[in-house]
């Protein structure tokens, strides 16, 4: 319930503005892998454009991406993250199956997304994810340098699709303009203006992909019906208390 209170506060604000809000959200915990002494930072500068592109892509399914505050894991050996066969004892397997030891969220429904410098030391390896299960790693150096430094703008959205149960060859993937098409065949937008429904219409999701994604436990529904103003005001106050509680708990942590 305490987790719900801030959400209620947000919804209440919308209600006071006269809008009903209904939609779905994925909570994502971004985790920065740094050197053991914390001096080497992988993601610098921020990734607002990548988040915006991800949001626009997943808006096709009515899903809002909610990126939580960054956490870090300081371990130089993880900067080039070993994916390999993803068996026990390999790094990607280990961090995704024991996320809280590596900066990940304790909430099983919050998707953990680690940002390494590289994956398997391979320059063409941009991201990796479990299909239908929690855990993503991004090879940030390759993603950021892609296309002359524009960046491989849809990798984050693509990997989220895997966690939501989508593969490269099912639910209608395969066309060059589909988000879930395999890396070598997918056309990648050079700007947010070429993400569907605009421009060249890239990173499309089929209706079958949307149906599958929405059935994932990681997608949490947020539905609020309009309330009379006095009730809404009361909820706003309740939500404010919840926010204070959250801040207190974060400060304590």
């Amino acid at each position: 319930m305490r987790n719900l209170l801030p959400t209620l506060a947000a919804c209440t604000v919308l209600l006071l503005a006269g809008d009903a809000f209904a939609g779905s959200v994925i909570n994502i915990q971004p985790i920065q892998i740094r050197s053991t002494d914390g001096s080497t930072t992988v993601v610098n500068p921020g990734m607002e454009l990548f988040e915006a592109v991800g949001d626009k892509i997943w808006d096709q399914a009515g899903i809002d991406l909610n990126f939580l505050s960054w956490t870090t894991v300081d371990d130089s050996s993880l900067l080039d993250l070993e994916v390999g066969a993803a068996t026990p004892g390999t790094e990607f397997y280990d961090i995704t199956t024991d996320p809280t030891s590596y900066g990940g969220s304790a909430n099983a429904l919050t998707i953990n997304m680690w940002f390494a410098a590289s994956l398997d030391a391979s320059p063409g390896f941009y991201g990796v994810a479990w299909v239908g299960a929690n855990g993503i790693a991004i090879g940030w150096d390759a993603v950021a340098a892609f296309n002359g430094g524009v960046g491989r703008l849809d990798t984050i959205a693509h990997e989220l699709g895997h966690n939501l149960g989508l593969g490269h060859g099912n639910f209608g993937a395969g066309g060059a303009n589909n988000l879930m098409t395999t890396g070598g065949s997918r056309s990648v937008p050079s700007s947010i203006g070429n993400v569907t429904p605009d421009g060249f219409g890239l990173d499309v999701l089929t209706s079958a992909q949307i149906t599958q994604a929405l059935s994932s436990d990681f997608v949490q529904d947020v539905q609020v019906v309009p309330l009379p103003a006095p009730v809404a005001l009361g909820l706003l106050g309740l939500g404010f208390v919840g926010l204070l509680n959250l801040r207190r708990r974060r400060a304590a942590a």
């Binding site: 991201g127 299909v131 066309g175 303009n177």
Partner: protein, 178 residues
């Protein structure tokens, strides 16, 4: 099950020959693609002799996707290895150019003469088909439905896209639709 977003990088060296075999273009990486740029070299083959016509670094990311060579030694490069709307979707290089700095240091290996370069944005305009339709139908990179080929006359390149054919004139690098 694990899945990933990755691309296979091109081989470290590849060659394309003109129809008669007189000219051969090689595209290679000097550093296993660490620098992401390729070096191209056009050679003229005469019996056992191989004369370097030109060499140049290519700005295409991981090199061009497709390379074709005419029997006149004109090189046509299409797209970059990565699947993006490239500013160098089509590049036409003649063998008669001189090095931009004047005389090439070695005196014998000019870098070729880029007579035309077209961004992807030019292609929908020539074909009269919206870019998003070309992109939706593409099977090879951003816009082509089939690998490009040299025309029967040996003086043009034909690239299919969105149900039409883009013709690139090797003589002047101009584009037209068929």
């Amino acid at each position: 099950m694990l899945s990933s977003d990755r691309i296979d990088l091109p081989p470290e060296s590849r060659e394309a020959a003109s129809p008669s075999g007189r000219f051969v273009l090689s595209v290679s990486t000097p550093d296993a693609w660490k620098s992401k740029t390729a070096t191209a070299e056009l050679v003229e083959v005469d019996g056992d002799e191989r004369r370097v016509v030109w060499t140049r670094k290519l700005p295409h990311e991981y090199g061009p996707r497709f390379t074709l060579v005419t029997d006149e030694g004109t090189v046509i490069l299409l797209d970059e290895w990565i699947n993006v709307a490239s500013s160098r979707a089509i590049t036409v290089i003649h063998p008669s150019g001189i090095h931009p700095s004047g005389i090439h240091p070695s005196g014998i290996h000019p870098s070729g003469n880029v007579i035309a370069q077209h961004a992807f944005a030019a292609i929908p305009e020539v074909l009269w088909i919206p870019g998003r339709e070309l992109v939706a139908a593409a099977r090879h990179g951003l816009w082509m439905t089939n690998p490009p080929t040299l025309g029967d006359d040996g003086k043009s390149v034909r690239a299919e896209s969105g149900g039409r054919t883009l013709v690139i004139d090797a003589a002047d690098g101009s584009l037209r639709a068929e």
